[in-house]
């Protein structure tokens, strides 16, 4: 009984220690991220002391970049499933070991999501009101309570799957299927649910015609399954280069075909939405008009959304053409797709829902410097987490960090 606990604690301690060790590039990267994190923390301390008045939000536009980034990152987290499905449903060997990198990205993305929601709260000190049992949890009526459950559930599922697989590898054991395969399949459905529930946060509001549309959920999924795998394509190449970890080009091209199909669906759904809004021409088109062409002389979002559309269309064309089989072009395509979707789904979705207000007033929104610093801080925090996870996972997968005596790093090996 004692020995497994001791083994596990040793495992955690060694993982923790290795996170602080690396070459100069690692220290530079981690140092830079830590500095941005601290800048973000400093900005948050200011917001905590003075209130959300330090942001660009108002009663008219009461959600801004925090919720926009939150929405985007839920999609990134959900997209890990797009690597899991080929591996576990279609037995794709190429991606097999890479699934863990996708799931670790999901963990980091969910941590960022939780951070973005927390900084958006007016009274973060009362978060405990949300804890079922201690607080008052409005389940199932409030979609936000669903979101709390699905996001935390997804975090636990992925932590369990990654943690179990990595620990098994560390101990040199074959993972028992019963301990993770059922969770993998639950996680597949759960991934779809986190993004659907997040879409329903918006869709459920009858007083906001811009969001109150059945297509928002499918659009969320399509854009997530584009941006998420695109992000993983870039991440895997960085891992391959920096960590000396073997990742085949074929694996990347498998992900490319996922991005390809998702992007086509994503653009198609966007076209559907645009047609419905503008062709019928009823009064509810105001928010869309504001977003796409400007309304009553206000057009802060117009350049953004057309940039997003241009990026998405370019990415779509590149994805369809064989040119994106070359990694250099594929990387450009992925970067375009990620940026395009980040704009479209973040600010392009959240902000126009508030403009004009339900009483017809046109008040625009742009994030304040303090708010922007907090966002950078959270993104850095997420990257910091992801880097640490990879710093632990890569040596374990390579067999360099192992709890098995006589393998991996024995002292003899280290002396060489």
């Amino acid at each position: 009984m004692i020995q497994p606990v001791r083994n596990y604690l040793t495992f955690l301690a060694r993982c923790g220690r290795i996170a602080f060790v690396g070459d100069w590039r690692y220290y530079t990267w981690m140092g830079a991220l830590s500095i941005i994190c601290l800048l973000g923390l400093n900005a948050y301390a200011r917001q905590f002391a003075h209130g959300l008045i330090t942001t660009g939000m108002s009663d008219e536009v009461s959600w801004g970049v925090y919720i926009a980034n939150f929405t985007f990152l839920v999609g990134v987290a959900a997209a890990a499933v797009m690597m899991v499905i080929p591996v576990y449903v279609y037995d794709n060997e190429e991606l097999h070991d890479l699934v863990i990198f996708g799931e670790l990205l999901a963990v980091a993305a969910i941590l960022m999501c939780l951070a973005f929601v927390t900084v958006d709260l007016g009274r973060p000190d009362r978060f405990w009101h949300l804890i079922p049992g201690i607080g008052q949890f409005n389940f199932p009526a409030s979609m936000l309570s669903w979101d709390v459950i699905v996001l935390n559930g997804y975090l636990l599922l992925n932590l369990h799957i990654c943690g179990y697989l990595l620990y098994s590898r560390y101990m040199g054991r074959k993972p028992s299927k019963w301990f993770y395969i059922p969770f993998v399949f639950i996680a597949i459905f759960w991934a779809v649910s986190i993004h659907t529930v997040t879409a329903f946060l918006y869709v459920g509001l009858g007083g906001r015609p811009f969001w109150n549309s059945a297509i928002v959920g499918p659009r969320f999924l399509a854009s997530a399954f584009t941006a998420g795998p695109a992000l993983i394509i870039l991440a895997l190449q960085i891992i391959r280069r920096v960590a000396d970890y073997h990742i085949t080009d074929r694996a990347l091209l498998t992900l490319r075909s996922i991005v390809q199909v998702s992007m086509l669906i994503n653009v198609f759904l966007l076209a559907n939405e645009v047609f419905k809004e503008f062709y019928s021409g009823n009064l509810h088109v105001a928010s869309s008009k504001y977003l796409f062409i400007g309304l009553h002389g206000r057009h802060a979002l117009v350049p953004w959304i057309w940039t997003a559309i241009a990026f998405n269309l370019t990415a779509m064309v590149l994805l369809v053409l064989p040119v994106s089989r070359s990694l250099r072009w594929l990387n450009v395509t992925c970067a375009l797709a990620i940026t395009g979707i980040w704009i479209e789904k973040g600010m392009g979705l959240v902000v126009p829902g508030f403009i004009p207000t339900p009483l017809g007033e046109m008040i625009e929104y742009s994030p304040s410097l303090n708010e922007t610093l907090i966002c950078f801080g959270i993104w850095s925090f997420g990257l910091l987490c992801y880097t640490i996870f990879l710093r632990m996972a890569v040596p374990i997968l390579q067999g360099r960090l192992s709890g098995v005596i006589g393998s991996g790093f024995s002292p003899a090996h280290a002396k060489s």
Partner: protein, 319 residues
């Protein structure tokens, strides 16, 4: 993470036997110390935090779970807090809804002249923040013949009202029978009382502003900063779910002047209206003015009726 380094491997794996040497220890301590210093420096703005609540406030229970004794204590504590801050001892009550009462508001659009006296009476009565400015009532100026709210002018300021070619429509919380704000609140911090008033527990709200996004009438307001009210303007007649001073980071909105109406008085906006456009009362009482209006006026409207929110706030005309 990179293997080519000769020593990288032994560093990467400080096995159980690897001890600390003096140099590493000093270097490690220096790194930790500077890290902690940077952390402390980044948290420095917290020193400007002035209105951080007491432990009692932090641990305060949900409104519906407070026993009468606990409520008495809480009310006393709030009176103490207000006195400390404003130098004036208020009377804070927890008025309960009366049996057999369902409040309804009716507003005569033919009469309203758009003078905004109701807006300012409401601010004074309900201790709303002056900076940043919070107002529960928004008066819209609409062009003759249209109820399209996108044509509404919010910031009209003519020499005198009413103006030719326009009519005026004050909008405040519509006290819906089917309130979207209550449905979406993740922590039950806002709910509908038996007399039809939707209230907020200011000590329970977490400030997520989901209700503000859900409200089709733009009736909810958020305290983006600590509210500021001139001491001499504080209204000392307060109620827990009503006009007691709010804190930073929580929602508030019109509550039909709960501190007045549950004590048998009219809302402040009604009393101040110079043209008698505002009517308020118990719709369950067949002799009430509002019951008369709903039974006898040929046309009355519920704003955005198609959303199914079923407001208890009716607009009617002299027909």
């Amino acid at each position: 993470m990179n293997s080519p380094k000769p020593n990288g491997n032994s560093n990467a794996n400080p096995g159980p036997g690897s001890g600390l040497n003096r140099r590493n220890f000093l270097r490690g301590s220096a790194v930790i110390a500077s890290g902690l210093a940077a952390l402390a420096a980044s948290l420095a703005p917290l020193r400007e935090l002035e209105d951080f609540g007491s432990i009692d406030q932090f641990l305060q229970k949900y409104y519906k779970e407070l026993t009468p004794e606990e409520m008495a204590k809480v009310l006393k504590r709030i009176e103490d807090e207000v006195e400390r801050e404003y130098g004036l001892r208020p009377h804070v009550r927890d008025l309960k809804p009366m049996a057999g009462v369902e409040y309804v508001y009716a507003l005569n659009l033919t009469r309203c002249i758009g003078c905004r006296k109701c807006v300012h009476a409401c601010v004074a009565e309900n201790n709303q923040s002056r900076t940043p400015e919070i107002q529960y009532i928004r008066v819209l100026r609409l062009p003759h013949g249209s109820l399209d709210l996108e044509k509404a002018e919010h910031n009209y300021s003519p020499e005198s009202v009413p103006e030719k070619g326009y009519f005026y429509m004050p909008v405040q919380c519509q006290q819906c029978k089917n309130p979207p704000c209550v449905k979406v609140c993740p922590v039950h911090a806002t709910w509908q009382e038996t007399d039809g008033i939707t209230v907020i527990d200011y000590n329970w709200c977490i400030g997520c502003r989901y209700c503000e996004a859900a409200c089709p009438y733009w009736a909810r307001r958020f305290n983006f900063a600590k509210p500021s009210i001139p001491k001499e303007r504080l209204n000392p007649n307060m109620s827990y779910l009503g006009n007691r001073p709010r804190s930073r980071g929580v929602m508030e909105k019109c509550h039909f002047c709960i501190q007045r109406t549950r004590a048998g008085r009219y809302p402040a906006c009604l009393e101040v209206c110079p043209v008698g456009a505002r009517k308020f009362g118990n719709v369950l009482d067949p002799n009430s003015e509002v019951a008369y209006i709903l039974h006898n006026k040929r046309v009355f409207i519920q704003l955005k009726e198609e959303l199914g929110t079923s407001p208890r706030f009716f607009y009617y005309f002299d027909v």
